[in-house]
Symmetry: C2
Subunit: 351 residues, 2 copies
Amino acid sequence: MTQRGQGMAADIAEQPAGYARLLEGAPAAAITAAAAAVAERRPRHVMFVGRGTSDHAALYAAYLTEIRLGIPAGLASPSAITLYGARPDLSDALVIGVSQSGGSPDLTGVLSVARESGALTLAVTNNPGSPLAEAAELSVDVAAGHERAVAATKTYTAELMALLLLIEGIRAGDGVLPADERAAIEKLPQLAEEVLADGGAEELARRYRFASRMVTTGRGYAYPTARETALKLMETSYLPALAFSGADLLHGPLAMTDPDVPVLAVVGSGPGGQAMTEVVNRLGERRAEVVTVGAADVPGAAGRLAVPSVDERYAPLLDILPLQKLALALALARGEDPDAPRGLKKVTTTL
Amino acid sequence: MTQRGQGMAADIAEQPAGYARLLEGAPAAAITAAAAAVAERRPRHVMFVGRGTSDHAALYAAYLTEIRLGIPAGLASPSAITLYGARPDLSDALVIGVSQSGGSPDLTGVLSVARESGALTLAVTNNPGSPLAEAAELSVDVAAGHERAVAATKTYTAELMALLLLIEGIRAGDGVLPADERAAIEKLPQLAEEVLADGGAEELARRYRFASRMVTTGRGYAYPTARETALKLMETSYLPALAFSGADLLHGPLAMTDPDVPVLAVVGSGPGGQAMTEVVNRLGERRAEVVTVGAADVPGAAGRLAVPSVDERYAPLLDILPLQKLALALALARGEDPDAPRGLKKVTTTL
């Protein structure tokens, strides 16, 4: 009999190796080839589809696509196509389906329809033999290996890494990263090891053992991290966690925060982090307990999960790591089994 | 001294008249002209930007655009452009900014950048003299009049109606709705009156006076209603409310539901509603208390806010009405002032 949470802990620990794996050999070559094929086709816009954790990876990739490639990108709602029979003309589009299992019928349906309508289609999945990969013209294997826990951790960050390499490869034109870009990305496995070695998350879990709910927030590249953190807390600790973009939080939902609701604010060292400063200040005025996560040290925060400073476009691959550890430690502290949460299935079968 | 909640109650009551107003005279003529101008330009894809309540109206419009026009549509993150300086090539795109005040600098920034890059730009706002309307090439006035309460109600539904008329007008080609379409939409003011006359929402508010949180859910056209309901509950009652697409709820977050957490499920009489049946059944297995909202009568639900059966694409204009009343009644029952919630500003000033 294994110990509770051992699977999730092992998955989390494997992430630095997962990053390194995508930088060499067959996985790297496949991403390079896919990037070159996309660059040659010059899509006019990019549509991402994903659900749950993979939707957050897709959101990250949408920011990258707009900022790094100058190509408009958006997240699609599968149900327009799968429930209502929409047949949008996607002949100028690149449609990217993101799914760890590759087994979700609605995403496969969207990619099939998109391919029929002339779109270039690409699957990003941890299962290269899956229906999603079969349905798409191009396929990228995130090569994260078998995930032990039901809650996704290493498949999420492998999706982030694969999408980062893909999009920077498209930017390069031939799929081959420029030397400075490659050098910056090659540092991520080691940086990820350092982040995982820190014990701050476990300490924080003791503090929030009896929290009844949490708020997570971030802007720009950090917003997917806020959303993924909230989902992870809900999946493993059944803790209601509301994720807001920092901009949206300043409207209505700020009113809901009070000293009883811990706020996890992802604050990097670039434009997104700077924009979060006002959010953290406003939260402070409401006497909310704010813990910042990331490279920026914000005065007035009650605590911090520090992460080394990197360009904000790489930060999502580091910032999520202590937050996954927090979700794991909090679940264990609350007597839950994060490896097999109630009500959670690995493969989505919604149409 | 006015009574608490009187402003919000008056705003809610005005919605049927607001629907009728957009069907005649100058507001209708302006929508027809904008629709014809869009149809002539034949955009290859549509990007929506909005925040908070207006983001939910934009989400509704994105479904309409894909399903009714066969044009790919997505929601953009303003921060890619406004924080990170992304300059996506939008020369094939229609970019629609949705904002009741038209005063949000980030949306105005996105529309300005989009227009410079060759996009057709359109503002949908309750303030035709606003910076957003000035920045856009085309502008539609939702003509809802002054909103008394800080929480948006009648401006939300006026945005829905304006976007519905706009998109059906684009579908027609010349902006003029076909007779059957117009006849169906013309019934909405009267149906809205009937929905508002029902007292079910006030009764439900008594039942949920002491609920500590809520979940809202819907699929397809009903998903924006679920999101807007959650925001309204948070803004006026400070009640943590988590909104999920029915498909996403079946994954992890389902585990969080239990008999103590009321679930408001928006279930219409079309494909979205049918897909929700499994969701309601699964919630029942978890002994969640499910109240359905909409045209479908689902066996096993603990309660229902019934709404007349219309095509699902019109349902968002009716389904939200009892839910706004629920938010108002719940705020009053909890001793809050829904007209002036703490921490809520009418105009967003985030960059």
